[in-house]
């Protein structure tokens, strides 16, 4: 199938990307993020959620969360690459927010095709945030695995590994009933909903498991249709997380390169030594590979859907491995400084390590790809 040479990055997408880049440079520099999320180093600190809600409201005000909402639901109806562009810049800024969660919720809602889903999309278009509760206690990313049950119009059970749950205005819950998996909209403040925050390593987001006790819920996708909606949204979800890692990887690369240019050891800048220079080049190769694969996968979602899942898993695999590599080399080459809490590097290090397992690490993606491409093993 024909594909855009520019991955579908038209003038609008480019403008959006540039304005996001400027916005984060102006309002979300690394020192600001550090002050916001790293003020308490205590390893046994209370579990909380550090973010700048006012900044988030500016962003929703700018309409960024509406870009992938269909026009029919009051959104802008831009292609997925537009969201990729923003997610990449958000990752570069290690931006703490429900941005990715809301995009992911958007992509799932787009696949539900119910009026309720359209109304939920409209809320997102008008600035409300959302997140997905679709993972079971075993941390399975399979659309068909959930520990939440739906019966007698009520939700019961627990959803795990819910991203930025404490920031989200609404929760999209995957629940199973006799007729299969359905999707349901839940108000976090509703009776019977308990959000139990996890103590996570990543300082730039929150994560929680959510227990539901006889919770009223609005049906977004009927039983039997929910898992399919998640499956169809999965390529876009994988693209969002990959784009976040690509942005963070570029930050780690440039920051470490800058340090290697200036830090002198043995009367030479660090970057003189090929033991530093060549691994940094390898980081660049991996960042570029992950970036191009992410763009291509996002482009495929709109232009060549049959290839989208395959390309998105390739992108996530490349991005996950790059995330670990870029993070580890950044700390290593920053030396003692990079090992300290005051240095900004660990903030990106932890975000990368969190993202690399989210929705499956590289090995997981490649196992899935082997089944897709080579065929099930005998």
């Amino acid at each position: 199938m024909a594909r855009s040479g520019n991955f579908g990055f038209g003038d609008d997408e480019m403008m959006l990307r540039d304005s996001a880049r400027k916005f984060f440079a102006d309002h979300c520099s690394a020192d600001k993020v550090h002050a916001l999320v790293a003020h308490d180093a205590n390893i046994h600190r209370d579990i909380g959620s550090n973010w700048d809600k006012a900044l988030w409201q500016q962003i929703t005000g700018l309409g960024w969360t509406a870009i992938c909402v269909p026009e029919s639901a009051g959104g802008v109806g831009m292609p997925v690459v537009a969201a990729v562009a923003i997610a990449e810049e958000a990752g570069k800024a290690a931006f703490p927010s429900p941005l990715i969660a809301t995009f992911n919720a958007t992509f799932v809602l787009r696949e539900c095709g119910t009026d309720a889903a359209t109304r939920a999309l409209a809320n997102i278009a008008s600035g409300s945030s959302a997140t997905l509760a679709m993972t079971n206690a075993k941390g399975s990313w399979e659309a068909s695995d959930t520990d939440v049950r739906f019966g007698n119009e009520k939700l019961n059970g627990t959803a795990w590994y819910v991203q930025d749950a404490q920031k989200a205005d609404s929760i999209i819950v995957s629940a199973v009933s006799a007729d299969g998996i359905g999707l349901y909209l839940v108000d976090p403040t509703a009776r019977g909903v308990e959000i139990i925050p996890d103590g996570i390593i990543d300082l730039t987001r929150d994560q929680a498991h959510i227990s539901f006790k006889d919770v009223d819920a609005m049906e977004l996708a009927p039983p039997g249709a929910g898992d399919e909606a998640i499956r169809r949204a999965m390529p876009a979800i994988l693209c969002m997380v990959s784009a976040d890692m690509v942005g963070a990887g570029e930050w780690l690369l440039q920051t470490t390169v800058e340090y290697a240019r200036t830090r002198v050891q043995f009367d030479r800048p660090l970057g003189f030594f090929q033991a530093v220079k060549h691994p940094l080049v390898n980081v660049m190769l991996e960042v570029d590979r992950a970036k191009s694969l992410t763009y291509s996968a996002a482009c495929a979602i709109d232009e060549d859907p049959g290839q989208a899942l395959r390309e998105a898993r390739m992108a996530k695999s490349a991005a996950s491995d790059m995330a670990v590599f870029s993070a580890s080399r950044a700390v290593q080459f920053h030396g003692g400084i990079g090992f300290t809490w005051e240095c900004f590097v660990h903030i990106y290090f932890k975000r990368q390590m969190h993202n690399h397992v989210l929705y499956g690490d590289g090995k997981y993606q490649r196992t899935k790809l082997a089944d897709l491409i080579v065929g099930e093993a005998a």
């Binding site: 199938m1 240019r261 060549h278 940094l280 992950a290 390739m314 196992t367 790809l369 082997a370 005998a378």
Partner: protein, 414 residues
């Protein structure tokens, strides 16, 4: 996947149609002789002749050198070579034999050659009637290109050349060579000059070509010895002492980072019929599906599956990098991706061929001279030949320096 979605200009659209039509009617079909994996491995004159005929036909049809000016035998068009290349890839044509001529000599002569000489030489270069080779490497100048010892001495208005070049692919077929050599011993870089010199017509008259044997047992590259070869001054490219600058034009184009797109055909399966080439990860899947690795089908082995998929991802990433390199706004530094091509492609091809050993298992011990060798022993052969490329044209260690220094802005490592 095609890049056709990229908007064509009217000229380009018309040209694309022309290429597709001509190729549909004029594909040369299956070769009557064995065609090696790449032009640099050419040793059988019959294979060369067949490929030259194909290049000449494509040239006459306007598919080669489209972006070169008409007076130099080109098509005088703009940004059309890439379109011809796409069309030829899609049509799975044979490759062009004059690979060094098209990829390195042509742009260098075009941008630095003296008037008259360009017009005289480029037409038969583009048509493939005259094969070109490259005289850069010397026993003491491998990756350290500037360490040239071959010397050109000015005598009247001619130059007298003495020296020793090595690893010169295709020299045994070549009519011309692009030659980097020293015209002054005072300055390492500014003491270099750049010439085009005759080979075929000068054999026995100052030029000796001796084949070198590769670790594979194949010939295909040579050493070339110059003893008082006399060359007219008009064959000098650019100024005396500007050799390094000219060489950079050559290398930029070799690395896919040049101004002009190199005419390149290909996609036709050489060797085993109907299967992906040994440099494609897809080929490993076919191989794994037919290889009883240590008794079990390799395609069912999870470790093999993971390794193949890793390579497929690298290959798809390479393809998508090429796509992104075409969109300025999606690349922070214009040379960042193009300068990766040689490094990434050669290491990927090496790893693909290496994995084939583990896929084939015990049968990987068999060589091209064994009738039972999987795919005629092409993979071990490709693995060994892959080192020719990771070493040549600036070993990949040097490629990483270039990327670290030119793109990332890190200090020089010497």
């Amino acid at each position: 996947m095609t890049e056709a979605g990229r908007k064509d200009t009217p000229e380009q659209a018309e040209f694309r149609a022309h290429c597709q039509k001509w190729l549909a009617e004029n594909h040369p079909g299956r070769p009557p002789v064995h065609i090696p994996q790449g032009a640099l491995e050419l040793s059988d004159p019959a294979a060369l002749e067949w490929l030259q005929a194909w290049q000449k036909a494509a040239y006459d049809a306007g598919l080669v050198g489209c972006d070169y000016s008409k007076d130099c035998g080109g098509g005088g068009m703009t940004d059309c070579q890439a379109i011809a290349n796409q069309a030829m890839q899609q049509a799975k044509t044979p490759y062009f034999p004059n690979i060094i001529g098209l990829g390195m000599a042509a742009p260098t002569v075009y941008f630095h050659g003296q008037d008259g000489v360009k017009q005289k030489l480029l037409r038969k270069l583009l048509s493939g009637e005259e094969i070109w080779c490259q005289g850069f490497s010397e026993p003491g100048a491998g990756s350290d290109l500037a360490n040239q010892q071959t010397f050109a001495e000015k005598r009247g208005d001619t130059w007298v050349i003495n020296g020793h070049k090595v690893w010169t692919s295709l020299a045994h077929f070549a009519s011309w060579m692009i030659l980097l050599c020293r015209t002054s011993k005072d300055d390492k870089y500014n003491g270099l000059s750049y010439f085009v010199v005759p080979i075929k017509t000068a054999l026995g008259k100052g030029v000796t070509v001796r084949p070198l044997i590769k670790m594979t047992g194949e010939t295909g590259f040579n050493e070339v010895i110059f003893e008082d070869l006399v060359v007219e001054d008009k064959y000098r490219l650019d100024e005396v002492g500007a050799g390094w600058k000219v060489a950079m034009t050559t290398l930029a184009h070799e690395r896919g980072a040049g101004v002009l797109v190199t005419p390149s055909a290909g996609g036709m399966v050489t060797g085993e019929q109907g299967r992906a080439s040994v440099s494609s990860a897809q080929g490993l899947i076919d191989l794994a599906q037919q290889s009883p690795r240590h008794g079990k089908r390799a395609a069912d082995d999870p470790a093999i599956r993971d390794a193949i998929i890793q390579l497929m991802i690298r290959q798809e990433g390479f393809r998508q990098n090429q796509r992104r390199a075409g969109v300025a706004a999606l690349t922070d530094h214009p040379m960042r991706i193009p300068l990766q091509f040689k490094l990434v492609a050669t290491e990927m091809n090496q790893d693909i061929a290496q994995l084939a050993y583990e896929i084939e298992g015990a049968a990987s011990s068999l060589y091209v001279n064994d009738p039972a060798a999987p795919l005629g022993g092409q993979y071990p052969l490709a693995y060994m030949n892959s080192f020719g490329v990771t070493i040549a044209a600036g070993a990949n260690e040097v490629q990483r320096n270039i990327l670290g220094e030119r793109v990332l802005g890190l200090p020089k490592s010497r």
